[in-house]
């Protein structure tokens, strides 16, 4: 499968990235390429310009600012995996990074790329030839959602492993764009709309992820269920953080964005985490998400998995 034709730019700094993203009519960032280039080969994304992060300085730095940890968005998942400080302070983050794809995907794929990956669906992530068998779906410019049988809507599923881990660590983002730098919540990055999953404005890109020092005061874990033990995206992924009488729970693979399980968290707050409580609270997890059958698994199975993975993760750290 040949890639479509595009213009390639290799800026050296943040200003160059913003300029390249802004000036081209349709430009996309190229980090590891493990999501974007596959989609381009399938002709479901065809940007006219690719803006490479390869030569942009300081995007692979891991540093501290006070008690906060700052991770450059171009830090590879392998860099994260090999960082003993990150492993000690934020186990869920390292576990999630190690759960992504294969050994090669982790060497190529980046933190920012994993967070900003496109949403997925069994009707969307297919080759051009495969998709000719039916009408174009709404996400690629048609009218129909083949998953729910409606028009002008998209229920494609956010399927990145790292996002729920960073959500329970209360991480936030540093974003650079035409109007300068800003900070934003991680949950705010996601629109909740399948057709255009990210809220980044034209010319904007995530340059770093910041994890507050408080996150290192608790224990965290990421649990993933996928069809195979490796390579695959999560069918459901669950991250938990426990500390200071609080429990934070987040999921991937269950909605158009990664989600925090607010009702479940409220049920557990300040209470002794007995087996009976976990068992009775687990069904609340499914209320956090609007699951669509974008994978081959039934919705009821994924709802149940949300509770199962939550219990498994929390028992592992309690």
């Amino acid at each position: 499968m040949h890639l479509p034709i595009f213009t390639y730019q290799q800026p050296a700094d943040f200003a160059g990235v913003v300029a390249a993203l802004t000036e081209a009519s349709e430009a996309k960032l190229l980090a590891g390429g493990t999501d974007l280039l596959v989609n381009m080969k399938h002709r479901i994304e065809t940007p006219g310009t690719l803006v490479s992060l390869k030569k942009v300085a300081h995007m692979r730095d891991v540093s501290t600012e006070g008690d906060a940890t700052v991770i450059g968005a171009a830090t590879t998942l392998k860099d994260i995996r090999q960082n003993s400080e990150l492993k000690r302070k934020f186990p869920a983050l390292v576990q999630a990074a190690m759960a992504v794809g294969s050994y090669r995907h982790q060497a190529m794929g980046t933190l920012g790329g994993n967070l900003c990956q496109n949403t997925r669906c069994r009707f969307f992530n297919q080759s051009w030839q495969w998709r000719q068998a039916r009408s174009l779906c709404f996400k690629v410019g048609g009218e129909d959602c083949h998953v729910v049988g409606k028009k002008h809507t998209c229920f494609s599923t956010y399927s990145g492993d790292v996002a729920p881990a960073l959500l329970v660590l209360d991480a936030f983002l540093r974003i650079t764009g035409p109007h300068g730098h800003r900070e934003a919540s991680l949950s705010g990055l996601y629109s909740g709309k399948g057709q255009s999953p990210l809220t980044l404005g034209r010319g904007e890109f995530v340059n770093a992820v910041v994890i507050p020092g408080e996150a290192a005061q608790g224990k965290s874990r990421y649990e993933k269920f996928s069809i195979r033990g490796s390579i695959d995206f999560p069918i459901v992924g669950a991250a938990v953080w426990q500390g200071a009488g609080k429990v934070r729970v987040a999921y991937t693979g269950v909605d158009r964005a990664p989600v925090r399980a607010a009702e479940l968290e409220a049920e557990l707050a300040g209470r002794e985490l007995t087996d009976a409580l976990l068992e009775s609270a687990a069904p609340l997890a499914a209320k956090a998400a609007k699951i669509a059958p974008t994978s081959v698994h039934p919705v009821s199975f994924k709802r149940e998995l949300m509770g199962v993975l939550f219990e498994k993760a929390l028992r592992a750290i309690s």
Binding site: I5, Q10, K41, K78, G101, R104, M108, S230, I231
Partner: protein, 161 residues
């Protein structure tokens, strides 16, 4: 008209000039331009591992790497592992342990194993299985492959290069 750029790629220690358009993958550059066909095109979408090469020592998927992004890096392919005709310990172990049947997946497995053993000197069996899980084989059933990797660990521990 889309213009080609002339890239200077360092492949197995040799510098080669390759003219290609930006949408040329490293896999296409290696096989079609440099005529190094040891690196295989399997799924072409990163799921099978047959196209694994080393880029500055890291195992990467050549089908998902643009050739232009490999400029300035040391590219090592399966053709570059042997030293003056002497197979590397990993290559020897694969041959000796029957880990090669049709051979199509073997370059990918060997390159991934080479990178893995440079990162982790003595991986256990589960660590080997987990880190090789991105390489698919239709012939062997993987048992001999895992045994070969374990043997390669032993060879390297014994000082073989």
């Amino acid at each position: 008209m889309v213009r080609k750029n002339v890239l200077e790629l360092s492949i197995n220690g040799d510098s080669q000039e390759i003219a290609c358009t930006p949408n040329t993958t490293l896999l296409e550059a290696l096989r079609d331009k440099a005529l190094l066909t040891g690196t295989k095109r399997g799924c072409d979408t990163g799921s099978c591992g047959a196209c694994t090469v080393l880029l500055d020592g890291e195992a990467v998927l050549a089908c998902l790497t643009l050739a232009v992004e490999a400029e300035g890096c040391d590219i090592c392919t399966i053709e570059g592992l042997a030293d003056k005709g002497k197979l590397s310990p990993v290559q020897e172990a694969f041959v000796e342990h029957g880990a090669i049947q049709c051979g199509f997946c073997s370059p990918g497995f060997i390159m991934t194993t080479t990178a893995l053993l440079n990162e982790i000197a003595s991986p256990g069996r589960e660590e080997i299985r987990k880190n090789l899980a991105g390489n698919l084989c239709r012939c062997t059933g993987y048992v001999k492959v895992i045994e070969a990797v374990e043997a390669a660990v032993g060879k390297k521990a014994g000082g073989e290069k």
